[in-house]
């Protein structure tokens, strides 16, 4: 099981949990497991054509998954996935 760190703007969709445990051999599997546990997350993470939204970055430990093997990045037991959306405070 890997841990997914949920950023505060998205915690309203994970019943306020800041960490969710998911199963999956790869990052892609883990994220699918995450959105099936918390379906409201889906549209905030993925656009209609199933791609991860460009203002959301996914890290495995401290590395951006874009520079690893993206969704195919393999996950170990103690790996932490972090979802890092862009924030700008103030008014949008």
């Amino acid at each position: 099981m890997a841990q997914v760190q949920i950023p505060s703007p998205l915690r309203q969709y994970t019943e306020k949990q800041s960490t969710v445990l998911v199963s999956g051999a790869t990052v892609g599997d883990a994220l699918s497991s995450l959105v099936s546990q918390h379906p409201d997350l889906k549209k905030h993470l993925y656009s209609d054509d199933g791609k991860l939204r460009a203002f959301v970055n996914v890290y495995v430990n401290e590395e951006d998954m874009r520079y690893l093997q993206k969704e195919a990045t393999a996950l170990g037991e103690n790996d932490t996935i972090s979802i890092v959306p862009s924030i700008a405070g103030g008014i949008l």
Partner: protein, 387 residues
């Protein structure tokens, strides 16, 4: 950083003022002279800008530019600590200038009462060495980033949301820029603002001082800057985490094959220009607070639905039935569609969404309270608190 060809001199007063810097080898006379020669531009004199400007001024940065066209609001005082109660209604630039000059008369302060735009950013940035971004919206963040890359100035970045923050240094020569991290902004309306989402008052203090620290380190050439690292601050857990940032070789503004070589229309880029008003807020069936008061006085059979959060209900309420807007789909069967329902929230936005949802679910007699409980407090019951 421009190397000093001739060191700027420090007066005896300055030497005494900065003695605690001078006695540290990491700063010393040479470092303090670099600070005095440095020109830093702060975008924003608000939450992040307050601690940024104050600490840079205290540290002896020679020239500070501030860009802000806003006026001090009462609700700013919870976190924008450069402004005081007497400054409410005053231009933020005037308020900030007064405090900064009082703190350090040696400061060469340049104020720019203007919105930062694609028309003025490049010329403005060329007059400074470092830009510290304290803005509160995505279009300006992308503008600042692109202008920094195009003019070759480091962008000391900080951003906040509720009780979390981010900090980094973008647009250094070999480092990533903001677009390397986030090529595209979120669509408008997806991420709430401080007015809607709230913000822990201390948070911009924490992040703003981190920005001031990074700015000073860049000037001094000391320590390890946050370039290439994203610092994530979680104030509630008091945890600091670091993620690696890499320069994206395909970045359109700082990569190998640059397609962005000039500033663009950032409002359009962020999807704001030409965007219709949030779904149906303007054409959802509504009633005014005066009409609601009349109906209540006439003892009409009305069901008031409050779609705010429980902690807002505790501040003030109209004795409505509370179902937070996010819970509405799950709890819709608690409502009687045969009754006239008036839905309200704080200002009318969330309740408009609730009315749209209920009408699509078959409720015919449901209306939005225009202006929300804030309008009630303004026009019907002035004893009710506003928040």
């Amino acid at each position: 950083m421009p190397t000093l060809t001739e060191p700027v001199s420090l007066t005896n007063d300055e030497i005494l003022r900065y003695s605690r810097h001078l006695i540290m080898p990491e700063v010393g006379m040479e470092g303090q002279q670099k600070l005095k020669a440095a020109r830093v531009l702060c975008i924003g004199a608000g939450g992040l800008g307050s601690p940024l400007a104050l600490y840079l001024t205290a540290a002896g940065v020679g020239t500070l530019g501030i860009v802000d066209f806003d006026v001090v609001d009462y609700t700013n005082l919870q976190r924008q600590i450069i402004h005081t109660t007497n400054d409410v209604g005053r231009k933020k630039l005037d308020s900030a200038a007064e405090k900064l000059k009082a703190l350090n008369p040696f400061l060469n302060l340049r104020t720019f009462e203007t919105k930062l735009t694609s028309a003025n950013a490049l010329d403005l940035f060329r007059e400074f060495d470092i830009v510290a971004d304290g803005t509160d919206n995505f279009p300006t963040r992308y503008l600042v980033n692109d202008a920094c890359v195009l003019t070759g100035k480091p962008n000391v970045y900080g951003s906040i949301f509720r009780f979390e923050g981010q900090a980094s240094v973008f647009a250094t020569e070999d480092g990533p820029c903001y677009r390397c991290l986030y090529p595209e902004p979120p669509p408008p309306g997806l991420v709430p603002s401080c007015a809607e989402g709230g913000v822990l008052g201390i948070l911009p203090g924490l992040v703003g001082v981190i920005q001031a620290t990074e700015t000073i380190k860049l000037i001094l050439g000391q320590g390890d800057s946050l370039a290439g690292r994203l610092l994530l601050v979680d104030a509630l857990g008091m945890k600091f985490r670091e993620l690696k940032l890499r320069k994206n070789p395909d970045c359109p503004v700082c990569g190998k094959n640059r397609t962005i070589t000039g500033l663009i229309d950032y409002e359009e880029f962020c999807g704001i220009r030409g965007q219709e008003a949030p779904a149906g807020e303007n054409d959802v069936p509504a009633i005014s607070v005066e009409e609601l008061k009349k109906k209540l006085d006439a003892r009409a059979d009305i069901f008031i639905l409050d779609v705010r959060e429980p902690h807002e209900y505790q501040i003030c309420n109209l004795n409505g039935y509370l179902i937070p807007v996010g819970d509405l789909p799950k709890r819709v069967n608690e409502l009687d569609s045969s009754r006239e329902i008036i839905a309200h929230c704080k200002m009318g936005g969330r309740s408009a969404k609730a009315v749209n949802f209920l009408r699509r679910s078959g409720f015919k007699k449901v209306y939005n309270l225009t202006g929300g409980i804030t309008a009630w407090a303004e026009k019907v019951d002035p004893t009710m608190p506003k928040y």
